[in-house]
């Protein structure tokens, strides 16, 4: 390289400045876009990091339902990891600024952590001054007042020391990085903005939150930071639970006493009530018994009366029959009487016979007694002496005994005695002599015996007749008696009948009287019953009243208890930065920006190489004679080559430097402008990455140099003689289409020419197709990126999360039932109760924190549509099964049928089988059957409302229900998501502009070379009489053809590029569907074609300027 070649280099540059600039521009564009987009994310992140560091953005926010004391704050401050700890107050309240009342988040100003940044005005100095949200207020609002609305509930109102606060300045808060101001339980449910008060502006005995700044190492969102945060969180949580319990036990102690007293009062009330109730019941029972007895009596009376009446009537009815019977009885009686008289005659006959027999007997007996008197006289005469001796001795004994008895006591009776004894002895002897005489006496009695026999015969006859007579008489008497009896009976019966007939009226009267009596008794009974009922009802109502009063008192107490205990229910939260909406959405957005940066380098590098190739090829062709001459003069290939290497290398170097510095400044700025609408912190930081710079240089300059070397090598290896001679005309070639005769012949002539030309120069063909295709591909990728991301809302909330409201319940609160009731009463289309827990899913050596949703197979599918990528519904998991979202599946390399381990918060590990991978776009979940977690109580309800229902109103009303800790509206989340995505639009514009530039550069460069190379041809056709239009068509039609072909290829490339880019948008909280809408394809195609047409228009002017005289020139 000597002065001569250097001078030639500068002349080449100057004479073909456009060519030099073309290389420079393409390198600058490529490097600029790449480096610019690549540094956009770090630039945004470092700006955010500076902001967070300078404002001491909290690393942790501690919340307790019972608040914190100053001691608590001190305890946290003394933790090793904590740099600053500060207690703060906050409240969501309805407040008005100039009439309209809206929900605001009031916070106390902090001195150490999460410092607000004053953007206008001054800091508040008095307790009734405040700083207002700079996103909502303007500078002109400074000085106006904010009025706390009286609509707020008393508890909220009590928190404010004043009713009005004067705005002294505007501020931004690191806690509200994005436009998302969060939701609340008051008014419409969404917060309008925040207001900072001085701590004295609040009235509260305890801090509502503790903010901790730990000054942790590691940059924003880095794993270094999250590890440090995780490490710091553990002791923090431990301390939090200790302090929380401490606070609770002191508050609980007071509350318990108060409640116990009230309970005692109610208990005694119940005792009294029960006594009264029992007494009343007893009284009523007695009355009821009496009434029942009376009723029974009446019933009996009625049966009696009824039977009497029946008897009476029956009797009356029987009388005529009876009389007939009596008459026939009398007839029978008369016939009996006649028989009896016949029997009397018979008796008389018997009596006569009997009297005859007796008189005969009497005669015989008298004769016998004469006979016997004669026998007796004979015997006495025979036995007289013996009788007289016995009688004499008996007389002597009787005299003696008389003398003995009449002698006194002292008379001497022995002589008498002796005489008596002798008398008695003589008597006994006499008697014995008599007896002997009697027995020895034998009378003569034959006459007697005959008489006696006759008498005996007569006796027998007489007694026979007597018996017969007696019998007959007895029979007669009997018959007579019977007759008399029968007669008597008939008479009696007749008398009875007569009496009955006579008595009937009086009997009837008696019965009727009894009936009346009974009716009266019945009436009395009814009255008695009515009286009883009334008494019972009275008692009942009295009791009910008493019971009601007691129940009221009990309910009141329960409510009080619930209120007191719910106020005392301890819920502790340790929230890290990932719970901050702005923090998370910023990460997502910057992640997308980063992914976009990958879309560019591929095509720009390609195009830069191609542009360089064609430019250098052209240049060498133009200068072939010069090269030949130089070589002929003795310059070596190296010397010649160095000129071209210097030419392109310097161009690439300049382009790279220029592109890098312009790109890294301009593009982050543009991106920042796009996102500054969403994020409220200023000061984009210039991010200079030497490594990135080195990469750009290392790729672009050597890349261009090697392309140049490859291009020049062939030409320079030719021998000088060849170089000096003009190049032979290019060979004509048939294209493959010509072999399809019918098709080829149907083409117009110009069509054929165009096709031939298009395919003739392979290099140009490829470049054209790739350049244009690259343009289309970038557009497709850009639009597709937008499609994929901007549809997230529609996909997540339209196809997956069908619920409109998510309600978080206090699982252990006393009032969950109230909450459930409120939910059930709400007019919902469907409702699923779920248990949601933070869990860790482990597969192999990978693990990921995620969110478990345990629910029931019947309800969950109605509010969350679990379907796979093909839209097929997935069956709800059974016990120990799980359906996971795509993000979990890809991050943990889990697929259907795998088994993963689920670690719960308490450390329990459960193996679950993955039964499906479902589509999900925002966040990630693992869906379980409730029994997999041991059927815990629900802590969340997902509600799906009917079309047209006012979800905001329902949400606001649910927020006021005890036991509901948080209500989030799907529509609000969707809105926030879509707002964040809208920042993407400017990035898309950036892509459109850059791809336009790419298309233009490619077309311009290639067409330019095409025209220059074919200027002779162009001149010739002009001479032949082609009109300017025909000439343009002749040359540019192939551009159009190639543009269309390139664009078509670009659609395919774009799809691939899009997939590649989407693979890089790997933000944990989002899963973007890889999808491109038809419209995006169409737009990309149309825009590319428009760019191509634009480039053609420019080229056409150039064509018009080609002089026809060119055609006359010699070839080269």
């Amino acid at each position: 390289m000597n002065r001569f070649t250097l001078r030639m280099l500068f002349r080449s540059i100057r004479s073909g400045l456009g060519r030099y600039l073309a290389i420079l521009a393409i390198v600058a564009l490529g490097v600029g876009f790449f480096a610019g987009l690549k540094s956009a994310q770090p630039s945004m992140l470092s700006a955010a990091e500076n902001y967070f560091a300078s404002s001491h953005m909290q690393d942790f926010q501690l919340l307790s339902t019972l608040g914190f004391t100053e001691d608590d704050v001190d305890a946290f401050r003394s933790l090793e990891t904590v740099s600053s700890a500060e207690g703060a107050y906050f409240a969501d309240a309805a407040a008005g600024v100039g009439g309209s009342v809206e929900a605001w988040h009031f916070m106390s100003l902090t001195q150490e952590v999460s410092l607000p940044q004053l953007t206008a005005g001054r800091m508040p100095e008095k307790a009734d001054e405040c700083l207002a949200d700079e996103k909502v207020f303007r500078e002109s609002d400074i000085g106006s007042t904010i009025m706390i609305s009286e609509e707020n509930d008393g508890e909220t109102l009590d928190l404010f020391a004043f009713r009005t606060y004067t705005i002294t300045g505007l501020a931004r808060s690191p806690r509200y990085m994005s436009g998302d101001r969060g939701s609340t339980s008051i008014l419409s449910g969404s917060l309008k903005g925040f207001i900072y008060l001085r701590p004295e502006g609040f009235v509260s005995e305890a801090f509502h939150e503790i903010l901790l700044w730990c000054d942790l190492p590691g940059s924003l969102y880095s794993s270094e930071y999250s590890h440090a945060a995780d490490a710091a969180e553990k002791p923090m949580r431990d301390l939090l639970s200790v302090r929380g319990r401490l606070r609770r036990s002191s508050l609980l102690h007071d509350a318990e006493e108060m409640l116990a007293e009230a309970q005692d009062e109610i208990d005694s009330g119940w005792d009294e009530f029960r006594e009264g109730e029992q007494k009343a019941e007893e009284e009523l029972a007695a009355a009821r018994e009496e009434l029942d007895a009376a009723e029974k009596e009446i019933y009996k009376g009625w049966t009696r009366v009824e039977s009497s009446r029946k008897e009476l009537e029956d009797g009356m009815a029987a009388i005529p029959g009876a009389r007939e019977k009596i008459a026939s009885g009398r007839e029978e009686l008369e016939s009996n009487r006649a028989q009896l008289e016949e029997s009397e005659e018979e008796v008389k006959l018997f009596r006569a016979m009997y009297e005859e027999a007796v008189s005969m007997l009497d005669e015989e007996e008298a004769r016998l007694s004469e006979l016997l008197q004669e026998a007796d006289l004979t015997r006495y005469a025979a036995l007289r002496q013996y009788y007289e001796a016995v009688a004499e001795h008996q007389a002597e004994v009787i005299v003696l005994k008389g003398m003995i008895d009449s002698a006194g006591e002292d008379a001497d009776i022995s002589a008498l005695q002796t005489r008596l004894e002798a008398a008695q002895e003589a008597l006994a002897q006499a008697q014995a002599e008599l007896a002997a005489a009697e027995s020895s006496y034998v009378p003569d009695d034959s006459a007697v015996v005959t008489a006696e026999d006759v008498i005996a015969g007569l006796h027998e006859r007489a007694s026979e007749l007597e018996a017969q007579l007696a019998d007959a008489e007895a029979q007669l008497a009997d018959g007579r008696a019977q007759l008399a009896e029968a007669e008597k009976q008939l008479d009696e019966a007749e008398a009875a009948l007569d009496k009955a007939e006579r008595d009937y009226p009086s009997n009837l009267a008696q019965i009727e009287y009894a009936e009346n009596e009974l009716l009266q008794a019945e009436k009395d009974l009814a009255e008695g019953r009515a009286e009883y009922e009334k008494a019972a009802a009275d008692t009942e109502s009295e009791l009910a009243e008493g019971r009601g009063k007691l129940l009221d008192a009990e309910r009141e107490l329960a409510e009080n208890r619930e209120e007191v205990l719910s106020r005392l229910s301890l819920e502790l939260y340790c929230l890290d930065r990932s719970k901050n909406a702005g923090y998370v959405s910023f990460q997502n957005d910057t992640g997308i920006v980063n992914a976009v940066s990958y879309a560019f380098p591929v095509f720009f590098a390609l195009i830069a190489a191609l542009v360089c190739t064609t430019t250098m090829t052209r240049m060498i062709h133009e200068e072939r004679t010069v090269i030949g001459t130089m070589k002929a003069m003795g310059y070596g290939s190296g010397a010649v080559m160095s000129k071209y290497l210097l030419y392109s290398g310097s161009s690439a170097l300049l382009g790279c430097v220029l592109g890098f510095f312009l790109g890294t400044r301009a593009i982050p700025y543009i991106v920042w402008v796009a996102y500054s609408v969403l994020y409220s912190f200023s000061g984009e930081a210039y991010y200079y990455d030497p490594l990135l710079y080195a990469i750009c240089l290392a790729v672009s300059v050597p890349g261009i140099l090697s392309v140049t070397w490859l291009t020049c090598r062939n030409e320079l290896s030719s021998r000088p003689a060849e170089l000096i001679r003009p190049k032979p005309p290019g060979n004509g070639k048939r294209v493959f289409l010509e072999h399809i005769r019918p098709l080829w012949q149907s083409l117009s002539f110009l069509g054929k020419v165009t096709l031939r030309n298009a395919f003739r120069y392979r290099q140009r063909f490829i470049m054209m197709i790739l350049g244009i295709g690259g343009c289309t591909a970038l557009l497709v990728a850009g639009f597709g990126l937008r499609d994929s991301i901007s549809d997230l809302g529609a996909l997540q909330y339209g196809e997956v999360s069908l619920y409109d409201i998510s309600v978080s319940l206090d699982p252990d609160g006393f009032s969950s039932d109230d909450a459930a009731a409120a939910i059930w009463e709400a007019d919902v289309l469907s409702c699923a109760m779920t248990r949601q827990e933070a869990v860790t899913l482990i597969h192999g050596n990978k693990e990921m924190n995620t969110h478990a949703v345990a629910a029931d197979a019947e309800t969950l599918p109605q509010v969350i549509d679990l379907h796979d990528g093909g839209g097929r519904a997935l069956p709800f998991p059974k016990k120990d099964e799980a359906v996971i979202t795509k993000k979990l599946s890809t991050r943990l390399s889990l697929s259907q049928g795998d088994t993963a381990v689920l670690r719960l918060e308490d450390g329990t590990e459960l193996p679950v089988t993955i039964t499906g991978v479902c589509e999900n776009y925002v966040s990630h979940y693992i869906y379980l059957s409730r029994d997999t977690l041991g059927s815990p109580r629900s802590n969340n309800a997902l509600l799906r409302l009917p079309d047209g229902a006012d979800a905001d109103r329902l949400a606001a009303s649910l927020r006021t229900v005890d036991g509901i800790s948080y209500v989030s509206l799907t529509s609000y989340e969707r809105e926030m998501l879509e707002m964040s995505i809208s920042g993407l639009d400017l990035v898309i514009v950036l892509i459109v502009v850059s791809s336009g530039a790419l298309a233009f550069i490619t077309l311009y460069n290639l067409t330019n070379i095409n025209i220059i190379e074919r200027s002779r041809e162009v001149a010739t056709v002009k001479v032949l009489g082609f009109t300017p239009h025909e000439t343009a068509a002749y040359i540019l039609r192939e551009n159009r053809l190639l543009s269309v072909l390139g664009a078509l290829l670009g659609l395919v490339l774009g799809k691939l590029l899009h997939r590649f880019v989407m693979g890089l948008v790997d933000v944990e909280s989002m899963t973007c569907p890889v999808k491109i809408s038809l419209l995006s394809y169409l737009f990309s195609f149309v825009i590319t074609v428009l760019f191509a047409l634009g480039a053609n228009l420019v080229m056409r002017r150039k064509l018009d300027r080609i002089d026809m005289a060119e055609s006359l020139k010699s070839v080269e």
């Binding site: 005309p729 290019g730 004509g732 032949l1024 009489g1025 026809m1108 005289a1109 055609s1111 010699s1114």
Partner: protein, 235 residues
């Protein structure tokens, strides 16, 4: 042979390349009859090409008047000039200027498409004796063949005027002669006016009229009553 088919009257052409105006032609006046073969001969830089450019409707003139077949082409605008080139003039270039990407026949067709009273391209190609080379690309043809295709291309439009710029300049002797013969034969058989621009004075013998150009103006116009066939010319 009537006079005045082509009339040049005091034609002047001044180029304004850069600061200095360069007078390429001045006081050029001559006329050519219909059906004549006219040779315009002169040294390099004499203004032959400028004359051709203007007559071919590729360039405009600064002063003067040119009439072709009764039409004053010097007054034509760009569009009319295009139409004039399209239908009335056939060009034959020194370097043939065939379109490399078209076959011989197609090269003729591309011209024939332009003219309403064009001749059938295949016929014309056969007339120049290249019927069997119809499907060949220019690169597959020899120089003479290429030039014959070029002539055929010019003839296919059935123009009133055939303008030939050094038609033999790039050809060897025999081939050049054959091409010239083709031109002469065509003119004789069809009565077409043929203008050949050359620096080769030997060609003057085959012309009916010879226009000598020198230093931007016409030196002499000679009528050659006894034009000889090309075969008899030697150079």
């Amino acid at each position: 042979m009537e006079d005045g088919f082509i009339v040049f009257e005091n034609v002047k052409k001044v180029y304004r390349a850069g600061e200095v105006p360069v007078t390429a032609l001045h006081d050029v006046s001559f006329s050519i009859g219909k059906g004549e073969i006219c040779v315009i001969v002169g040294e390099s830089g004499a203004g032959k090409t400028t004359l051709l450019n203007i007559l071919g409707g590729m360039d405009s003139l600064t002063e003067g008047r040119i009439v072709v077949g009764g039409n004053e082409i010097s007054s034509y605008g760009k569009k009319e000039l295009t139409a004039y080139r399209r239908t009335e003039v056939g060009f034959v270039f020194q370097f043939y200027n065939l379109i490399p990407n078209l076959t011989a026949l197609e090269n003729i067709e591309i011209a024939a498409k332009l003219s309403p009273n064009a001749l059938p391209p295949a016929q014309v190609l056969a007339d120049v004796g290249l019927a069997e080379r119809a499907g060949n690309f220019p690169a597959q043809l020899s120089g003479g063949e290429q030039q014959r295709v070029a002539i055929a291309r010019a003839l296919a439009k059935n123009p009133k005027l055939l303008l030939c710029d050094e038609p033999t300049g790039a050809l060897d002797y025999n081939t050049g002669k054959a091409v010239l013969k083709l031109l002469q034969d065509t003119s004789r058989s069809t009565g077409m006016t043929v203008i050949i621009i050359t620096h080769n004075k030997a060609l003057c013998a085959m012309a009916d009229r010879v226009v000598r150009v020198q230093s931007g103006t016409v030196l002499s116009v000679t009528l050659n009553e006894s034009a000889v066939p090309v075969e008899e010319i030697e150079w």
